[in-house]
Amino acid sequence: MALLCALIPAEAATTDTAYVERHSLWRQTYSEALQNPALMTHAYLKPFTELSLQCDYRHQSEAFQIEQGTGYLKPELAAQSYIRLTPSSVVWGQASYGNGMQYHQVYNNVADFDLLYPDVIADSLGGDTHRERYYFAGGYAVEKGNWQLGGELKFRAEQDYRTYDPRMRSIVSDLTLKAGAARQIGIYHLGLALEGNIYRQTADIDFYGEQNGMGELQMTGLGTNYTRFSGSNRDIFYEGKGGAITFDLQPLTTSGWMLHLSHALHQYERLLDEYNSLPLTTLYRQQNRLTVGWRKQSDTNEKALILHADYDKRASDEHVAGTSSGQEYPILTQLTMYRQHRWDVGATALYGYRVWHLQLRAGYLSHREQYAYVERKMNYSRVYGEFTAQWLKAVNESLRLNIYAKGGYAANINSKIVMPYANMAASIKAYINHNYRYQKASYAQAQSGIRADYQPATWSVGLYGQLATAWQFCSEGEHEANLHVSLGIMF
């Protein structure tokens, strides 16, 4: 109900609540609270269904992170819906199918690199990979007295593959269940949500060319690898599980303080297929987020000030294998060889006046990675600032326009690398130095986009089109270009 109330003045400001409530920059101040499915009960005033065909394209003149490649082309067919069943209950759902390409990925032969780094299987050849992705999500929320209850299920199936040597193929299944509750206490809504996740990925690499049988590296962080089981062992799988807890405090009225606290723990074990599921490494990932904010709405304007602090930690344990008995290797001990700590603290100020929204965001980012023995370190920190302006207006009865532009700069303030260069292979040295070159760089970014929605009063279905572009310019002289196009219908 808090969300519903909060959005009502926006109607006066822009004359089209349903449109504003889904696309306004102001909406982002609610995005964290809506991670709790219980708070979806009154997330939108009006139900909607949207079908879209969209395409994202990215090109980097040189890969900013070598494992992520130089860019991608990702066409996607997507549908999403939010339907009110009764005045106090809603269902929502989302489904999408994507089939695209990722270009020139090196030192990464698995899907979901972001989740699994540094525990990936890799080689120095790499190449272009195909990505096919299916995603489904659905949820239900209901209000009973002072209580709101909700549940949500998300499922992702994905396969990444390459059609030439090294022929990697990764198949992912990723299931997340979420349950949430919120209760009205005084002038606040107090929300609590719990989440469970089950993850599995199988990854194998084949070489069809007789001359091409090169070894694969079981990477363990900052250019190191689990040498004993690298080489011809090219069939691995990951088993992951995790959970998250989030806590929210949201004001019932349009103005007031808000708080969001989330804590998530995930672990991903890498196992070797060929040695009777021998566990090689286990990655423990911890994500924490604290957001404290204040916002105020009146008939004509909106103000918000939000402070955030994010802390993300990765720790990778290497399982020390003993001598084999048959194909069984006992695990002698675990050593936490790799650690990554990432802090992001900052503030966001938002001001909206009728059809305009202006947002200023500034913060500090610290990234530290280390490998315990032989010691390796790679650190950098940046300060960043960005400014966003949005113009959102119903031009006439049929046409609504959403135009936005953003500019920002992230300046490196310090960086450090420690590597045992004398004992490193030339290819690994080049790989590490390449990534470090872009980590210690500064970045300027510019972004703009337009979305037009067209629905004459006599039409039961509306049409929309969106075009957006984003550019990043690196102080190393390289750049990144992004293009997003989408076309769709909504009703």
Partner: protein, 121 residues
């Protein structure tokens, strides 16, 4: 919902980092019960089986050598010269080799392994 809650609560317990990386390893040379090894001049090479990292030392005290190592499974190779006293009280100096394909040196703090020697002459 119950499943979700249980999973979340089970995982709330934080992962404890395993920071005890190093062990003070003692490699003891065993020349048999009828021999007392007095001095050793030899080079010991210890290869970590998982990382293939090699550590070398020649710092013998009597029949043993101590070295700080990453905890793990090792291949040990020692070759050099030693002096010993046999059962009859005779002192001899002989070349020897001691090799083991697999030694576990995983103790938190200290680890110990004994390796048999073979004379080369």
């Amino acid at each position: 919902m119950i499943l979700t809650c249980c999973m979340t609560l089970a995982l709330t317990a934080c992962h404890q980092d395993n920071d005890d990386y190093m062990t003070l390893a003692t490699i003891q040379l065993d020349g048999g019960s009828d021999v007392t090894i007095e001095r050793v001049q030899a080079m010991a090479h210890l290869t970590n089986l998982n990382t293939k990292h090699v550590v070398s030392t020649a710092d013998f005290t009597g029949a043993q050598v101590q070295i700080e190592l990453l905890r793990g499974a090792y291949q040990v190779s020692i070759e050099g010269v030693l002096s010993y006293t046999d059962q009859t009280g005779n002192k001899r100096i002989r070349s020897f080799r001691a090799v083991s394909d697999y030694v576990e040196l995983v103790g938190t703090g200290t680890s110990k392994a004994t390796i048999n020697i073979i004379y080369l002459d």
